[in-house]
C-alpha cells in the first residue's frame, strides 16, 4: 500500500510544473515515502502502547472461560459488566481508592511546597556550598528505594507511623527530579522579569509564587503528571509500609484479588485494573490541557 501512495505524489506535482527535473521529482517521491514511513512507525508505536490497554478492557468484560479461549477474541460474546461489581465488592475498595487519592495528592502537594522554593534557591541565589548541595540532591536520584526502605521502615516504625498515610507520603515529600526539572526552567526565565518585579518592590517569595511559578506551569504540570501516576501505581512502597487495610492503596488491593481466589480470575482482575487506570487517565487529560495552555502563556514578548 505504501509504494502506491508514494507514486501518487509526483503525478500530483506535475500538474504544477510539467517540466520539472527528474531530481526534483525523485526528491518529492522520497519525501512522500519518508512521510508514510513516519506515519507507519507512529502507528506501530501507538499499537505498542494501546493494544495492552485495549486487551485489558476487552478482558474485563469477558467471562472467565472466555479469557482462556484460544485463539483469543477481541470482542467478548456478551459484555459481562458484573465483573466490575465483583471487583469493587471483593474488598474494601472505596477505602483503597480514598487511600490512594490521599497518598498521591498528599505527596504532590508536599512536593510542590518543597521543590518550588528549592529550585528557586538553586537557580537564583549564590550561596556558599550551592554546587555541593545541588550535587547531593542530584545524587539522591541514583539511590533506588529498595536500598533504603529498611532504615526508613525502622525509622517510621520508631515514630509509630506504619500503617498510616504519613508512612506513604513523607518519604516522598520532596523530589530531586522535580527540583532539577524546575531549576532548569527557572534558569531560563528572562532576568528582566525578575528585575521588573524587584523594581515593583515585590518580595522574593512573591516573585517566586506570582511570576516564576506561573511561568513554569508546563514544567509543573508535567512533573505533577509524572509524580501522580508513579505514586498512584506504586506497589512496592505501600506493600512494605502497610500491614492492614487502614492505609492500603489500590494496587495492593487489586493484587489481593489474585491472592484471595483460588485461581486467578483474570476478568475481575482486569476490571479492577481499569478502575485503577481511570483516575490516571483523568489526571493525564487534565494535565494535558494545562500543558498546552501553559505553553501558550510562556512567551515573553
Amino acid at each position: 500500500m505504501a509504494p502506491s501512495r508514494a507514486d501518487a505524489r509526483p503525478v500530483f506535482a506535475t500538474g504544477r510544473g510539467a517540466g520539472r527535473p527528474a531530481a526534483a521529482r525523485f526528491r518529492a517521491a522520497l519525501d512522500a515515502a519518508l512521510r508514510i514511513a513516519n506515519i507507519v512507525c507512529m502507528l506501530l508505536l501507538v499499537c505498542v502502547f494501546a493494544l495492552p490497554f485495549a486487551w485489558m478492557i476487552s478482558t474485563s468484560l469477558k467471562t472467565l472461560p472466555e479469557t482462556m479461549r484460544f485463539p483469543p477474541d477481541w470482542i467478548p460474546d456478551r459484555p459481562v459488566w458484573s465483573n466490575y461489581a465483583d471487583a469493587w465488592n471483593s474488598g474494601p475498595f472505596p477505602k483503597y481508592f480514598l487511600n490512594s487519592l490521599i497518598v498521591s495528592s498528599g505527596i504532590l502537594v508536599l512536593q510542590f511546597l518543597t521543590i518550588i522554593p528549592a529550585a528557586y534557591a538553586f537557580a537564583r541565589f549564590r550561596f556558599p556550598g550551592r554546587g555541593l548541595l545541588f550535587g547531593l540532591v542530584m545524587a539522591t536520584l541514583m539511590i533506588p528505594p529498595q536500598l533504603i526502605f529498611l532504615p526508613v521502615y525502622l525509622m517510621l516504625s520508631d515514630w509509630k507511623l506504619l500503617n498510616t498515610h504519613f508512612a506513604l507520603i513523607l518519604p516522598f515529600a520532596s523530589s530531586a527530579f522535580g527540583i532539577f526539572l524546575l531549576r532548569q526552567s527557572f534558569l531560563q526565565t528572562a532576568g528582566e522579569l525578575i528585575e521588573a518585579a524587584r523594581l515593583d518592590n515585590a518580595p522574593e517569595w512573591k516573585i517566586m509564587i506570582r511570576i516564576m511559578a506561573p511561568l513554569a506551569r508546563p514544567v509543573l504540570a508535567t512533573f505533577a503528571l509524572f509524580s501522580f501516576i508513579s505514586h498512584w501505581n506504586d506497589y512496592f512502597w505501600p506493600l512494605v509500609m502497610t500491614t492492614n487495610e487502614s492505609a492500603r492503596t489500590l494496587p495492593i488491593g487489586i493484587a489481593k484479588i489474585r491472592e484471595t481466589e483460588g485461581t486467578a480470575t483474570w476478568n475481575v482482575l482486569m476490571a479492577a485494573n481499569v478502575m485503577l487506570a481511570v483516575p490516571v487517565l483523568l489526571a493525564f487529560f487534565a494535565a494535558q490541557r494545562h500543558i498546552i495552555r501553559a505553553f501558550v502563556y510562556s512567551g515573553i514578548k
Binding site: A190, E192, L193, E195, A196, A197, R198, L199, D200, N201, A202, P203, K206, R210, I211, P214, L215, R217, V296, Y297, S298, G299, I300, K301
Partner: protein, 360 residues
Amino acid sequence: MARIDLIDVVKQFKGETVIPKLNLTIREGSFTVLVGPSGCGKTTTLRMIAGLERQTSGDILIDGACVNDVEPGKRDVAMVFQNYALYPNMTVRENIEFGLKNRGVPRRERERLVRDICEIVDLTPYLDKKPQSLSGGQRQRVALARAMVKHPKVFILDEPLSNLDAKLRVHMRTELIELHRRLGATFVYVTHDQTEAMSMGDRIVVMHRGEIMQAAAPMELYDDPDNLFTARFIGTPPMNVLPMNLLPNLGTEGEGRAEYVGFRPEHARLLPGSADPPSDGLAIAGSIITRESLGAEHVYQLRTTAGTCFVKQFLRPYAGGDFATAVVPHDRLYFFDGEGRRLRNLRAASRPEPAAAGVR
C-alpha cells in the same frame, strides 16, 4: 522630581573595568539621554541608578540621599525595559497594579490610579487582556503605565523604542516628550540612536568606553563638540574629519597645534570644479562618487586627496558635473589635536601660496 548624582562611580565585571570613573549629575526634572555605541557603559550606568547592578565603588545619590544600600524597589524609580518585561501570566490591569499591591496601596486607591493612568495611555479597553494579545505599541504603553502608576521620582528607560517599527517609534517619541512634560519627573533614557537622543533629550550625555565624552544640551553638542568622538557621533551624516597635513592651503592662528580639521556636511557648499572658490573658506576639490537625494536634502560623497567627505545641500540639488569643490566657511571649521580634543582657541587662516600646488 529628583536630582541624581553619580560620584566617582566605578564598575568592574569579573576584573574587567567597564566604567573607570564616572561623575555625573542628572538635573531634577530633566530629560537626560545617555547615548553611545554599544558597550559604552550607558546601560550599566542606568542599571546602577535603578539598583539592579551595584557599583564596585563610588556613590549614587538620589535627591541628595545615598542609595548605595537601598533596594531597587525602595529607590522610588520606575524602569521601562527594552523588551518591556511585562509579566506574561498577568492581565494588563494586574501588570499595572503589581507594584501598587506590593506597596500596600488600598484597593480603591489602586483602582482609581489604574483607571487614570489607562486613560492617559489609551489602554482602558485592554485592561483584562494578557500582554501577548497586544501589539508592540500597546505593550509599550502597558510598560509605561506600569512605571507611571507608581508616581516615581525618576523614570528610567532602557532603549524603550527599539522594538517598535520606524513609524510607531517616531510617534512614541513625541508621546514620551509630552509625557515628560506632563509628569515633570526626571527621565533618564538610554539609546544608541543619536537621532532619538537629539530629538528627545534636553540634556545629552555622550558616552564612550565607560567615560563621558560630553554632557550638554542637544544644540550645544552639535554646535560646540568637546572632542572628535562627540563631533562624529552627533549628526547624520557625521562630521567630516580630515588630517591637517593633507590640507596644505589651510593654516591656523592661535594656541595649539591642530592635527585634524572637521566640518559638518551641511556647512559645506558644492561648487562646480571650474568655478573660483571664495577666499574666506576652505576649498577642497574632488570627484563625486555618490549622490543621495532625500527630497528636501541631497547628500554627496566627495573623494578628495585629503579623504572622502560628505556634503549636504538643501532644497536645490547640485547641478554641476562630477568634478566639484566643497567650500566651507572658515568660521565653520573645528580643530582637534592628536588626542581628538577640541582646540577652541584656534582659528583658520588661509595660506594662499601653496594652494596652487596643493589639493587642486
